[in-house]
């Protein structure tokens, strides 16, 4: 933030922060426009059409008349002002910003999505905000912001042979709880973090929301920077904390050898080892791989590895939702779609489906679902009980028909 303003800022100072990208999704977008038009007039223009995007991901394609209307309100507004719309076929907005090189280290972005701190996976400052904030930013390109106090988290440990970034993430959520980082900016360091690939970083950053953090930054490594530079078409530099950064707290977590973890209903913080839950014989009805937390190509490959020489057990459904069109395309060209199909999976179009309610079906009373998503609150995906786990755990579980520790397969 200091770099952005060209002067040092201190925690709890309130600043006006210029934004590089301002977005609205189909959830909230129509209200942003309503506020904007009411405040600034029917013909009012935006601060810079190039830096605004609409992303239709929540309900894609619209399956209620209300969403369909709201999406059309956004399209009409955008057309008049030359704003780009990533329509219902594009995928999850936060992932699009990363894929398209719009979210880069040190850049700022806001949107009507409470998981925008996912952009910290590439060292960008992303924030979810309400309709009024976004309407104001459409007009002015900035928002007010109270500089949060920063917590430095050093994670020691290593991933076990059948564990992945989601297991690490769940272990961290377990440690901090839902209010553990309330209102804080958090920076993640440590060997195990450094070895995460970009999808793994996305997984970790995405669940900062579940710990109530405002910002989650993972300083990008060389391989991530290279990938970003290619996407952006310009060289990128990593961001590093100021040498004189004042941390309000420094936490070192020693997670040892991280084993597969799972969050039980109805809270992402009710985390236990999969082995413990598996021991209790939890029968499942549905599996889900997708969401902004685990909807990348690498997540689907990790899941498929568990199904390779087998298939989904009769009576259980596995639903797949790639995060973006690019992910879907890669799954297609690398044969993963067909192989999942042969294993018995149901493959849905890209977007938030399965996480945002309703899109790939809801869970019924008594139904047990194991999902790679990030929230399992009561009623979020229907009346059933949702467990949160890694793609490997979900796939191993749908193969067995009950919550199961994934095998070592790499």
């Amino acid at each position: 933030m200091s770099a952005k303003l060209g002067r040092p800022v201190a925690a709890s100072e309130v600043i006006w922060l210029p934004q590089d990208v301002v977005t609205a999704r189909d959830f909230g977008g129509a209200n942003v426009i309503k506020n904007f038009l009411a405040a600034y007039g029917e013909n009012a223009d935006v601060f810079d059409a190039e830096r605004i995007r609409f992303t239709f991901d929540c309900n894609a394609p619209a399956n209620t008349a209300g969403y369909a209307t709201n999406q059309q309100i956004c399209r009409d507004f955008a057309r008049l002002r030359g704003i780009r719309v990533h329509d219902v076929d594009a995928g999850i907005g936060s992932h699009l910003l990363i894929e398209q090189g719009l979210a880069l280290p040190g850049l700022t972005a806001i949107g009507t999505d409470s998981h925008y701190n996912i952009l910290g996976a590439v060292g960008a400052l992303g924030q979810g905000m309400g309709d009024v904030d976004i309407a104001y930013a459409f007009r002015t390109g900035q928002v007010w912001f109270e500089v949060p106090a920063t917590v430095r988290v050093n994670i020691d440990g290593q991933l076990g042979p059948n564990a992945s970034a989601k297991d690490l993430t769940l272990a961290v959520v377990h440690h901090f709880g839902s209010g553990g980082l309330l209102g804080r900016a958090v920076e993640f360091y440590g060997d195990v973090v450094e070895t995460l690939d970009l999808p793994g970083r996305i997984t970790l950053a995405s669940m900062a929301t579940e710990m109530s953090a405002v910002i989650a930054l993972i300083p990008p490594e060389a391989s991530v920077l290279e990938w970003l530079a290619e996407r952006a078409g310009v060289p990128t530099e990593t961001i590093t904390a100021d040498p004189d950064t004042q941390y309000i707290e420094e936490v070192t977590l020693d997670l040892g050898v991280i084993e597969p973890m799972i969050a039980e209903p109805y809270s992402p913080t009710r985390v236990r080892p999969v082995s413990a839950v598996a021991g209790e014989g939890v029968r499942i009805d549905t599996g889900f791989i997708g969401s902004c937390t685990n909807g990348r190509f690498e997540d689907f490959s990790e899941g498929y590895a568990q199904l390779e020489d087998g298939s989904i057990v009769a009576g259980v459904t596995l639903k797949l939702v790639p995060a973006t069109r690019e992910v879907y395309g890669q799954m297609l060209s690398e044969g993963l779609i067909e192989r999942f199909f042969q294993a018995g999976a149901l493959i849905h179009n890209q977007g938030c489906g399965g996480c945002a309610a309703g899109q790939v079906g809801m869970t019924g009373e008594g139904e047990v679902q194991v999902s790679t998503s990030n929230r399992n609150f009561r009623g979020k995906q229907g009346a059933g009980r949702t467990y949160l786990a890694s793609p490997a755990t979900v796939a191993a579980s749908v193969r067995a028909g009950r919550i199961t520790v994934p095998e070592v397969r790499r």
């Binding site: 709890s12 309130v14 006006w16 909230g28 209200n31 309503k34 506020n35 904007f36 009411a38 405040a39 600034y40 209300g66 009507t112 409470s114 979810g128 905000m129 309400g130 309709d131 009024v132 904030d133 309407a135 104001y136 007010w144 109270e146 209010g179 309330l182 209102g183 109530s212 405002v214």
Partner: protein, 171 residues
Amino acid sequence: MSQMRVTGSAFPLVDASGALLDNIDTDMIFHNRWLHITEPSQMAQHAFGNLEGYEDFTARVEPGSWVVVGRNFGAGSSRQQAVECFKALGCAGVIARSVAPIYLRNAINTALPIAQMPDLAGAIELGDELVLDFATGTVTNLRPGQVHVPTPAISRVQVEIYRAGGLLNLQ
């Protein structure tokens, strides 16, 4: 321009033991089955409609009352209706021990008076006269004549936005 001093009587939301309720989330304030409502007058009747023990809040609360609550008020979704419903009811505003970040922004942006006072427990009773003074950044309880300074302090930006009658009126 809005009044710089906001006066009203306190309506604390408490549990059976009289402690201020913590963790009232946006679904308890304004349930998601009413999310399609965009008309403020219709939002009023659903305030706290899903909060156990306070389903009849709208019938009990007098216009001009302060909603007084515990910690982490308004966690959950970014729905603006959870703020608008109190404006529509004519509430003076919200005084909480702490407020979830997005809710706080939404309240400030729509010029709903809001203040956080972490050590509030037990200091305010039903019917106490409370004055939030934006000029001095204080909350005074006229009954014992106690003056509180909210922490975190009411920021200059909040006062500017409040004065303008909302973020979108700022020039």
